[in-house]
Amino acid sequence: MVTVTINVNGEKRTASVPPETTLLRLLRDDFNLTGSKLGCDVGDCGACTVIVDGKAVNSCLMLAAQADGRDVLTIEGLATMDRLHPIQKAFEKYASLQCGFCGPGVIMSAKALLDENPDPTVQEIRDALGGNLCRCTGYVKMIEAIQDAARILRDEPVEINR
């Protein structure tokens, strides 16, 4: 067993897991953070996307032990009890999701993009979503929502939608 401590969504959490445990399994099975989805489990679909030390990664391709000591942000870390994150809000407004299974991964990819690049072009958004497969929507409304969220985050960096 290996002992893994990660700072997940601002909270320090520790678990003792078998070494072959992926970060995704740690989040879902040990920390009950089931927002990140198990899709393909080989890094093709992006449903498991989380942000580790500021970078979007496939949590199915990272061993939990490799995340030891790092900052991990999952979909559960975006909204507060009062309000959705502006990206989530925009996805709702634009009806960007249908079945929703890919949603947490897509939104985390968008979050990582907007953290690094507050004013992305459509091509840059498409590149950022290249590792997130959605079989329902065709991506167009996601891209519109991300553009809208980018605008909101740029104009009103704090205290929005209160």
């Binding site: 070494p19 489990d41 496939n58 391709l61």
Partner: protein, 293 residues
């Protein structure tokens, strides 16, 4: 995935020590980004007993200019290559090649060293480095040894690395720093697609005679490993730079390639691509040479 013993090492010496201790009696695998290895371990019947994590190895993380040339540490990620000012300045082809690997999530985890060690013939990290005659620095129990990249690959998923050795560094030799190079990939989609064929071309220009100097052409996904198009290179050496010469080099490169047919493309289609991509890679390298002049 079956269980294994896990060691996270702090540097390459530590890694070599762990490999020396365990590689005799156990099946050991090294993990860096894990993007290839974890996908493999989940489905492969042959599980390792020991996994050595080098992703935090401090001495394998940097991109630096040394007396030997440009050194890229084994665990530098594709994203870091894309963003490195020195690589973008000296070798935009290398940054472009990094950008077409996988997707953002895999580029943030996956490493250039891992791309080479996995030794898949369609790897996008290989051709540019091969065209730049990169040297692989291997860490082992007796210290470091250096192997030219074109001798590093043995076949599909096979390299010269021994069980107690580790790819430590990728070195682009000093004589090739800033050499105009261009990389092209042809895949069936823009994102997350493996190359049907990829190609890199590199040469210096003798501006007085307007001729090719030290032309190097590397091709991926058309042989059991990334190869150099040696006949095409020989044809171009010292020849005047013209569109016709580049097109002819493309035709000759087809003879250097030995592609197979699979579900992605037929051998004939790949042969055609070799001609087109070789010509375009040469054109791209020439455009860069003109811009740098």
């Amino acid at each position: 995935m079956r269980t294994f013993e896990f060691f996270a090492v702090k540097d390459s010496h530590d890694a070599v020590a762990v490999l020396a201790k365990h590689s005799v009696s156990s099946k050991v695998r090294v993990i860096a980004g894990g993007t290839d290895l974890l996908a493999e371990l989940k489905f492969s019947p042959q599980s390792p007993n020991v996994v050595v994590d080098i992703s935090r190895a401090e001495d394998l993380k940097s991109i630096t200019l040394t007396d030997d040339g440009l050194s890229i540490g084994a665990v530098v990620t594709h994203s870091q290559i894309m963003q490195s000012p020195i690589i973008r300045e000296m070798f935009p082809a290398l940054a472009n090649a990094a950008h077409v690997i996988g997707a953002v999530q895999t580029r943030n985890l996956g490493t250039l060293g891992g791309n080479l060690v996995t030794a898949v013939p369609s790897m996008d990290g290989g051709p540019t480095l091969m065209a730049l005659e990169a040297i692989i620095s291997i860490a082992g129990p007796d210290g470091r040894r250096q192997v030219p990249l074109n001798e590093f690959f043995v076949g599909p998923r096979k390299t010269v690395l021994k069980a107690d050795e580790l790819l430590a560094e990728i070195i682009i030799p000093r004589r090739n720093l800033g050499k105009p190079t261009h990389f092209l990939k042809f895949g069936l989609r823009k994102g997350q697609a493996l190359a049907l064929v990829n190609a890199a071309a590199s040469f210096w220009v003798d501006w007085e005679k307007h001729t090719f100097v030290a032309p190097r052409i590397a091709l991926g996904a058309v042989a059991p490993k990334v190869i150099r198009a040696l006949q095409a290179e020989a044809y171009l050496e010292g020849r005047e730079i013209t569109p016709e010469a580049m097109a002819e080099a493309g035709r000759i490169a087809i003879g250097d390639a030995k592609p197979i047919s699979d579900f992605r493309a037929s051998a004939g289609y790949r042969r055609n691509l070799v001609g087109v991509l070789t010509k375009r890679a040469l054109e791209g390298a020439y455009a860069l040479a003109q811009a740098k002049r």
